[in-house]
């Protein structure tokens, strides 16, 4: 898949994974597993990018004697998901255009 497209897609996926309730790294990976395989290193970069873009906030929670990082979606993060949903309609229109061209050529 095109790397730019995939990057945007993964950002929204991670936001969606923490949309309903705060989540932590391993839980996010587990939640996404049925849909796409995400490596730890990739997730780290995405989380960092989202944090820098103020789409999520991080807090430390003590869990069984150790610290675990929980990620919480911000209003901006929620807006990013909505933005993506709108963009998707455009992409669908473009997809129809592309497949229509395919059909007429062959």
């Amino acid at each position: 898949m095109d790397i730019q497209l995939k990057r945007g897609l993964l950002d929204v996926c991670v936001l969606a994974a923490i949309k309903n309730e705060d989540s932590y790294g391993y839980q996010i990976i587990k939640d996404m597993k049925p849909y796409l395989e995400l490596s730890e290193s990739t997730l780290y970069t995405i989380l960092k990018r989202l944090e820098a873009g103020q789409m999520l906030t991080v807090r430390m929670v003590e869990h069984q004697g150790r610290l675990r990082k929980y990620y919480h979606i911000t209003q901006q993060g929620i807006e990013r998901i909505d933005e993506f949903k709108n963009d998707w309609k455009d992409i669908e229109a473009i997809y129809r255009f592309i497949t229509r061209e395919d059909g007429s050529n062959e």
Binding site: Y24, G25, Y26, S39, E40, S41, Y44, Q64, K69
Partner: protein
């Protein structure tokens, strides 16, 4: 490999990055391993799922901006001793030309690679154009009654056209190769900055 070994090896191979970055990365992977163990996995299996240290380091490196790497390296955490500064200034006539030549060597390597690609396409274009030229002279040959010449020109056009197509496919593969090579080169340059113990 257990968690302790994995994390200490990761820490070692990331040395050269800013300390805060290393700590954050290492604690991130520590949490990932702990959560897997809590999920019922053995420590070894958890580490194995994360992947090899080298693979992890490679991913981190490929995502880490080169400018940030250089900055982390150039700006030492400890203050530079006076003698080092004096040496740096006195040594300027030595290290500056060296630096310039290293940078220009790498730069010309890139340039050469892409020149090869451009040359391939130019030659390909020449084949295609001459092939069209042969087609035109074929028509001219038939019109002026020189049938043999026309047939010969047609043959040339076919051969050159085929060569153009083949070379075009070859060139596309070369571009892919060059892109891959430049990526590897960048990774190689980055690895000069990290993973070296101070």
């Amino acid at each position: 490999m257990n968690k302790e070994v994995f994390l200490s090896e990761l820490r070692k191979k990331l040395s050269g990055l800013p300390q805060s970055d290393i700590d954050e990365r290492v604690s991130f992977y520590a949490e990932m391993i702990d959560d897997r163990v809590e999920d019922g996995m053995t420590e070894e299996a958890a580490v194995e799922q994360i992947g090899s240290v080298d693979k992890v380091v490679e991913t981190i490196m490929s995502e880490y901006p080169l400018s940030k790497l250089v900055k982390a390296k150039v700006k030492p955490e400890k203050k530079m001793p006076v003698w080092a500064i004096v040496l740096l200034i006195l040594g300027f006539p030595v290290w500056f030309p060296l630096l310039v030549s290293i940078v220009s060597t790498v730069g010309s390597l890139y340039l050469t690679l892409w020149c090869i690609v451009i040359t391939l396409y130019v030659v390909d274009l020449a084949f295609a154009l001459v092939s069209i030229g042969c087609l035109i002279s074929m028509v001219a040959g038939f019109v002026s009654g020189e049938a043999m010449f026309g047939i010969a020109a047609f043959g040339c056009a076919l051969v050159l056209g085929a060569l153009a197509v083949l070379l075009f496919i070859g060139s596309n593969y070369t571009v892919k190769g060059v892109v891959w090579l430049t990526k590897k080169m960048l990774l190689g340059i980055k690895s000069l900055f990290i993973g070296k113990e101070k």
